[in-house]
């Protein structure tokens, strides 16, 4: 039993439950407000924890190298993604650029699931990784816009400068993660002690509930948006996390992270955004098809990462 429990910790099992229930068309649904609440909660908890870790003596060691690796991954991963999509799937330029931005960027819940599993197994990881997570949200959005522009894409309605800048620089997850990180850092151990029942004791349970919802949501989106996806697009959404994860693994080793940190960097590299980037792409590349990028990210890559990616990178990183 214990062996099984290590292979399939509760959050993963709840994801499978949600996915299975959705696939069997069980009459189970979770209020939208709960899913949004849990997503906010995870960001606040991850940010606070990371900031408090940075405030401990020696907590900043290795931070800059890891940030540099994270920024580079986020900025560069869209390039191979875009190449694969244009050459291999025949997706139009704008949609291909938008999709590639999602894969350079990151998924907070995938990160949370991996952190949770590391914590359960008692594997330590650099406490500042949430800052790396936040740093990786945005550069990929800029890459995607550049990829669409080079060679005449991003036509159609003219860009709305102000709104777009807000979505890119001030998108919700980045603001919340960085803000909570800062607050965790400012308030240090005292703040941590006070907020621990909220940010730490509840974390595993909240993660389980959220992954249940993500399983249901993945199937629902697959059902409404899956019809528009070719087999090649689905293949891309399974291959790209392997490429990004391998790049993250290499980057983590390069930055000299601990095994736990390397695993998390690989998870970040392999994960795809489904909150910040869709919102930014909708404004930056209005001709791109949101049905394609939301569905690939939420309904194909996310489940793949939860079920295959995380265990793979944890093992490859030697944790």
């Amino acid at each position: 039993m214990t062996g099984l429990a290590t292979l399939f910790p509760p959050p993963i099992l709840f994801f499978a439950l949600g996915f299975g229930a959705g696939a069997a068309r069980a009459d189970l649904s979770i209020p939208d407000a709960l899913a949004k609440t849990l997503s906010l909660y995870l960001m606040v908890a991850i940010g606070l924890k990371g900031g408090a870790a940075l405030a401990t003596p020696g907590g900043a060691e290795g931070l800059w190298a890891a940030l540099a690796v994270g920024l580079a991954l986020s900025f560069l991963l869209p390039v191979p993604a875009f190449g694969l999509l244009r050459l291999g799937t025949g997706l139009d330029r704008d949609t291909a650029a938008a999709v590639s931005g999602h894969y350079g960027s990151v998924s907070v819940v995938t990160f949370a699931a991996a952190s949770g599993i590391l914590a359960t197994r008692g594997v330590p990881a650099e406490g500042f990784m949430p800052a790396v997570l936040a740093a990786m949200e945005t550069p990929a959005i800029l890459s995607a816009i550049l990829l669409a522009r080079l060679g005449g894409g991003a036509g159609g309605p003219k860009l709305q400068g102000g709104k777009l800048a807000r979505e890119v620089l001030l998108n919700g997850p980045v603001v919340l993660l960085l803000g909570s990180f800062l607050i965790g850092w400012i308030t240090g151990p005292a703040g941590k002690a006070q907020l621990a029942p909220f940010t730490e004791a509840l974390f595993p349970g909240a993660l389980c509930l959220f992954l249940l919802e993500m399983g249901l949501m993945a199937v629902r989106q697959l059902r409404v948006g899956g019809g528009g996806l070719s087999a090649r697009l689905i293949l891309f959404a399974l291959a790209m996390p392997l490429i990004g994860g391998a790049a993250g693994l290499a980057g983590g080793l390069l930055a000299g992270l601990s095994p736990g940190g390397v695993a998390l960097m690989a998870v970040l590299g392999g994960s795809a955004s489904y909150i910040a980037v869709p919102a930014a792409m909708r404004l930056a590349l209005p001709l791109a098809d949101p049905g394609v990028y939301v569905t690939l990210s939420v309904a194909v890559t996310f489940p793949f990462n939860i079920l295959v990616g995380i265990p793979l990178w944890l093992r490859m990183a030697g944790t």
Partner: protein, 106 residues
């Protein structure tokens, strides 16, 4: 006779992405609408396929904007067609209605 209490107006109904709703309401404001009402949409189907509200990024949320105004307002809205369509509304529909207190719907 109560009929005389009613004034003919136009009922403009626009379905648009929630993230672009501001573009539409700002345009209505600029064109002199005296008001508008935004209703949430739970789900919809159109050329993009099914759009199910509630995804975490909010890009699949739609709203329905209802604006009641004079025939002249409706004319101005249709004349601003290019700008209106820039917000990529799925539906722009106009129908007839009659309102109490016509002075409220310039």
């Amino acid at each position: 006779m109560t009929e005389t209490a009613l004034h003919a107006r136009k009922r403009i109904e626009i379905v648009v992405e929630a993230k672009r709703a501001d573009d539409v309401t700002e345009l209505l404001d600029r064109l002199g609408a005296t008001g508008w009402t935004v209703l949430p949409v739970a789900q919809g189907r159109g050329r993009q396929g099914i759009r199910q509200s509630g995804d975490l990024s909010g890009v699949l949320d739609n709203v329905l904007i209802l604006c009641i105004g004079s025939a002249a307002l409706a004319e101005r809205v249709l004349a601003a067609r290019e700008e209106l369509l820039g917000a990529r509304p799925a539906i722009v529909s106009v129908s007839e209605c009659q309102v109490l207190r016509g002075e409220r719907f310039g």
